[in-house]
Symmetry: C2
Subunit: 326 residues, 2 copies
């Protein structure tokens, strides 16, 4: 694995490295760990930005507009995605090229579809590692997009410094299809499609969310969450979003940043990821154990029927797995 | 263990049973499992109601007023608590007697302080089992109070049918000390202290939260979250809260309740508790393993220094614990 070429910006080396990191093969995993160990000292020097929003809100149009603006401001922009429903093969790549055509072709951008399939935990781990690879390759703004499946927003918030939530201009009371807890994760909320006939509705939506977040806990201790408006289509409001992102980064990088700022967030995220992966590894081993695996359907059935407590079922399973009293 | 006496309402038998369930001794655990297996067919027939709110909001006054109203409406009311910071000994019991004096003394009520110490997971498990014991003893309204430490609100929401959040009347913009995600857990939000000079502020706070929750996801698919006002001190508004609770229960018990209603919620909660306890058991075993335990401080240090990825650290730990490649 040619890490010099990668660090010099060779895109093929970068793509190969990410492919290696995404692989689930055991031999690839060992090679990937070696690669990551080599790249780690050169990672970390970016702003990691999560981008989410319900289907139809205009995520791709926004990422394209925002990404190009960031490039014009001097950044090198990588765009990754977490989508556990993603499938292997040409489909998602084609999708990407049409979704963000200019960004995909740009020499100072790198767009990569989500790793395919498997659990959210697996996809999240591989994407978090791909972030490190992109940083080592010199990308100083790394966007991680979620397509809103299951708990992917939380996973993306757990691997980024800033969480940006895109919103629709509401015509009325209808919910935006945003999952529970996601509004409170957001550092910056952007009401998109603030153009044409929608401008008034966009303004009302922005005011509604601004009032709501006053009552909720801020996502980051060093920052008051903000609600902005933009039109990814016309470009209106994009510079203001970029400006807010820059101010967030400055506040989070300050030595006296509340809660220890971005540095402390990353430290805690790494710790959390360690223990999540340990837990996932232990659980995988249990589910692969024949004695335990045989017991699972039976215990779940008894549980559903109210014939056993969760505690007793858990103890039975642990006992079967470990061969002694847990 | 005299389960007949317990099921007949003998309070000493009930207290002894809960003490057994709360015990961390291995021999008690086995006896507790036997007891629970015997009681399980008689459990489940209550409404389980979580009550939370920041310190100073008037939780005890509210629970006393609400509990007495429920008793007047024919219920038998148990009050439990989840407080991982609780300590063994007379302190918390004394606290309870003064906090809810009338309820504590009432023949149709049973008030029990939180199990002491240990992890939130341990306290939550034991409280969830205490709920079953109270139900087998004939209590048909079981309140589980949280005192707002760490993630205890989520733990309580995970063991109850309805989550009720108490709020202060806001004088202005100040946050209520409510932790992230908790507002979106609530089925019923009650602005307390809606009396005297606070009535206007209480009304504004109620309106603010009503607007906010319109933008957030409802906590239960069969129910539109509501914001009410009350004065636990004067009793004003308490009947309306009881009425909302009763309507919630009726909607959640209907055969066509969205999302499968309360029954489906309980089934999923039990499943989730099973896997949480399995995970906790596995993690305990790892942390008790000498080889793994020795490695943990070293790996965490390397992680903090950015010298290792979480994935590589996790694999090293799993390898040390299991003695082969994870």
């Amino acid at each position: 694995m040619d890490t010099d070429a990668l660090r010099a910006g060779d895109r093929r080396a970068l793509a190969r490295a990410i492919t290696l990191v995404e692989s689930t093969r055991a031999d690839h995993r060992i090679a990937a760990d070696t690669l990551l160990a080599e790249l780690l000292p050169h990672a970390g020097r970016s702003l990691r930005l999560g981008v989410s929003g319900a289907p139809g809100v205009g995520k791709s149009t926004f990422i394209e507009a925002f990404g190009l603006h960031a490039i014009a401001a001097g950044r090198r922009v990588a765009v990754l995605a977490v989508d556990p429903s993603s499938r292997r093969g040409g489909g998602s790549i084609l999708g990407d090229k049409t979704r963000m055509p200019e960004l995909t072709r740009h020499g100072r951008a790198f767009v990569r579809p989500s790793p395919s399939g498997g659990t959210l935990g697996g996809v999240a781990r591989r994407t978090a590692e791909a972030v490190l690879v992109c940083e080592a390759a010199g990308f100083d703004l790394v966007l991680v997009e979620t397509v809103g499946v299951g708990q992917s927003e939380t996973a993306v918030a757990d691997m980024t410094d800033l969480f940006l939530l895109l919103l629709q201009p509401n015509a009325g009371d209808e919910l935006q299809g945003i999952k529970r807890g996601v509004v409170e994760l957001a550092d910056i909320l952007v009401v998109n499609k603030s153009d044409g006939a929608n401008i008034e509705a966009a303004g009302r939506t922005a005011a509604d969310y601004a009032n709501a977040i006053r009552l909720l806990r801020p996502a980051s201790p060093w920052w008051t969450s903000q609600v902005l408006q933009c039109s990814a289509l016309t470009g209106a409001g994009i510079p203001a979003v970029w400006d807010a992102v820059a101010r967030f980064r400055a506040a989070g990088a300050a030595p006296d940043a509340r809660g220890g700022g971005i540095a402390e967030r990353r430290r805690l995220q790494a710790r959390a990821r360690l223990w999540t992966e340990v837990g996932d590894g232990l659980m995988e081993a249990l589910k692969a154990d024949r004695a335990a695996a045989k017991l699972i359907p039976r215990l779940e059935k008894q549980l559903d029927a109210g014939a056993i407590t969760p505690g007793a079922a858990a103890r039975a399973l642990l006992h079967a797995f470990r061969g002694k009293d847990a």
